[in-house]
């Protein structure tokens, strides 16, 4: 019998701890598939964040390094500067990357650090129990914005991809979503291009993945996908912001 689908070698057999309906599992899988398809698993060192993906080091089937909250880009920098020929990636959530680790991600991008960041944006702090994130939408309720995010009080959500794409060192920047099969395929293609940009030495690459948090949003998984489409996508438009391949074509 012909095998039409099998689990990627890029993931271990460990059971993940993610909540039912959470899209981290999909993002892990497409990232792992890309590493396997590029044939670089044996030369990859990943850096896990603090937050929901804190245990990612148990799930990716490559050497892994756990970092402190927000510091993954700095840890990845240390690894990459010693092993310029290895593939180095960080996997970070929005609290980790856009709040406590804002300096680290901005400067890794500014340096053109040849690493790849998978940035999972679900507009809320998941692991710590649903507090407001830098990406929480105006009016969105969270445990620390119980009346809805008031922009007069705590400011506006950060559009990370737009911000980083202003930096010359950021070679590849794309925002994707994993809300339906077509978008999952696009997300995987973007992740592949980001890793290729690293392998070709083009500079820093980041793929922002709009993701759901049914548990902390208090929604059914299917309603979460709908909420993502209706609320997150208008504020965080999907699309490519920087692509070295496109930029070379345009020259």
């Amino acid at each position: 019998m012909a095998v039409v689908f099998k689990k990627t070698q890029g993931l271990t057999d460990a059971q993940t701890h993610y909540c039912p309906g959470c899209t981290h599992g999909i993002i892990h899988r497409i990232t792992a598939e890309v590493l396997e398809e590029l044939g670089v698993l044996g030369d990859t060192i990943g850096v896990a964040p603090v937050g929901c993906a804190v245990l990612a080091y148990n799930y990716f089937n490559c050497d892994m390094h756990e970092a402190a909250h927000g510091r993954a880009p700095a840890v990845a920098t240390g690894v990459k500067r010693i092993f310029p020929d290895k593939v180095v990636f960080t996997y970070q959530g929005d609290g980790d990357l856009a709040s406590i680790g804002a300096a680290e991600i901005v400067h890794a991008a500014a340096r053109g650090e040849k690493i790849t960041t998978i940035f999972v944006n679900n507009a809320i702090y998941g692991m710590t129990g649903g507090q407001m994130a830098p990406t929480t939408l105006p009016g969105q309720k969270a445990t620390t914005s119980p009346y809805g995010r008031d922009v007069d009080h705590c400011g506006y959500p950060i559009r990370v991809s737009e911000m980083l794409s202003t930096l010359t060192g950021a070679a590849f920047v794309e925002r994707v979503a994993v809300n339906n099969p077509a978008n999952v395929r696009k997300a995987k293609a973007a992740i592949k291009k980001a890793f290729q940009a690293q392998i070709e030495g083009k500079g820093f690459g980041i793929v922002e993945v709009l993701s759901t948090c049914p548990t902390n949003w208090g929604l059914h998984p299917l309603d979460s996908l709908k909420w993502l489409e209706e609320n997150m996508m208008p504020y965080y438009p999907l699309g490519n912001f920087r692509d070295p391949a496109k930029e070379e074509e345009g020259k």
């Binding site: 698993l41 490559c62 390094h65 970092a67 402190a68 990845a76 240390g78 010693i82 290895k86 901005v106």
Partner: protein
């Protein structure tokens, strides 16, 4: 190799390179800037990497990543910068990675000043960051010693898989002395088979981590670390006894301060006072056993460039055997021989 005249900071940087350090991540802060500057100039010439991070927090996390690869890595800073690095240091200790951290101390708290100080004794010897851990801390009193200790620090780090600190002060960093770069006594070092070097598809993934969600696993990890620290306390204590064997007044001082105290010991001896000095060369582990070697002692006098931090270890070492007094200057004020001697005579008078 002939002696060469070098500034303390540059000598420390050269010593690290001699010891095989090829990767340095740092952030500027006075009075240690000649270390990153030297690294920026010299490392690229020998295939190494100097990188200036955007902050001390980032620099120590680059060290964390770098140490995970198994390479010899180092960072340096001064007091407020080391305070920021404490986050990374506890992770490095928790994940059991080797690296060397140099602190050229300045006065605090807060921004303090830029003059020499020894007020980071607690921060260096008590863990500094969160959780139960210790870092071996070398405290050089001369530039030669700073060189020798920096070299040894890399071996101690690799041997025990731990961050190691070299803690001096702005005086050691900024002054010049002749130094010799001797090949240090080599230890047999364990293989770094835990490092994240890429599996090449030939082994199970290596994971660098300090997270233990299972309480029993975390307790086991802490017990394991504690056993390692007990080994370090047993094997790595270094100290100097300076005319202490027959001394009735025993000074305790380390680093720059100990050099001034040695002059006072000479002056007091010339005046018929039996004075001596215990000089910790490692401030953690602290040389408690040195205090068993002072049979004639009647008084201990701790001298520090702080308001009194090491004195707590001295009191523990004394354990009620002797009265322990203190003399300190802070803010970048250097203790003078006259000031120390005045306190010494007061202590002896009080003991009569």
């Amino acid at each position: 190799m002939a002696k060469i005249l070098m500034k303390g900071n540059e000598a420390v940087a050269k010593a690290a390179i001699e010891a095989g350090c090829r990767y340095f991540f740092g952030y500027p802060i006075t009075p240690q800037n000649e270390i990153p500057e030297y690294m920026a100039k010299e490392l690229p010439k020998i295939g190494g990497v100097f990188l200036q991070a955007e902050s001390e927090v980032s620099a120590i996390n680059m060290i964390y990543g770098g140490a995970g690869t198994g390479a010899r890595v180092m960072t340096s800073s001064s007091s407020p910068g080391i305070a920021l690095k404490q986050e990374g240091i506890t992770y490095i200790a928790g994940a059991e990675l080797p690296c060397v951290i140099v602190n050229m101390m300045r006065g605090g708290p807060g921004l303090g000043g830029i003059q020499p100080s020894q007020a980071d004794y607690f921060m260096s010897t008590r863990g500094g960051g969160n959780g139960d851990y210790r870092t071996p801390v070398f405290a050089p009193a001369s530039i030669q010693e700073a060189v020798d200790m920096t070299m040894e620090a890399f071996d101690v780090a690799d041997y025990y898989r731990t961050p190691v600190m070299v803690v001096a002060d702005g005086m050691i960093g900024q002054m010049m002395e002749p130094v010799e770069f001797k090949t240090p006594k080599k230890r047999e070092l364990p293989a770094k088979d835990w490092a994240t070097t890429g599996t090449k598809g030939e082994r199970k993934p290596n994971i660098i981590n300090s997270l233990f969600l299972d309480p029993q696993e975390l307790e086991d990890h802490n017990i394991k670390l504690d056993a390692k620290y007990a080994q370090i306390e047993k094997n790595e204590v270094q100290y100097e006894m300076y005319k202490a064997e027959d001394a009735e007044l025993v000074f305790v001082a380390y680093g720059t301060t100990s050099r001034i105290v040695k002059n006072v010991v000479e002056e007091l001896r010339a005046e018929g006072v039996k004075a001596g000095l215990i000089r910790p060369k490692t401030i953690w582990p602290f040389p408690f056993k040195a205090f068993d070697e002072i049979p004639a002692a009647k008084n201990l006098l701790t001298v520090e460039m702080s308001m009194g931090q090491m004195i707590e270890d001295v009191k523990m070492a004394s354990n009620g055997r002797w009265p322990v007094s203190f003399y300190g200057r802070v803010g970048g004020m250097i203790p003078t021989p006259q000031g120390i001697k005045g306190k010494a005579l007061e202590v002896i008078g009080g003991a009569k």
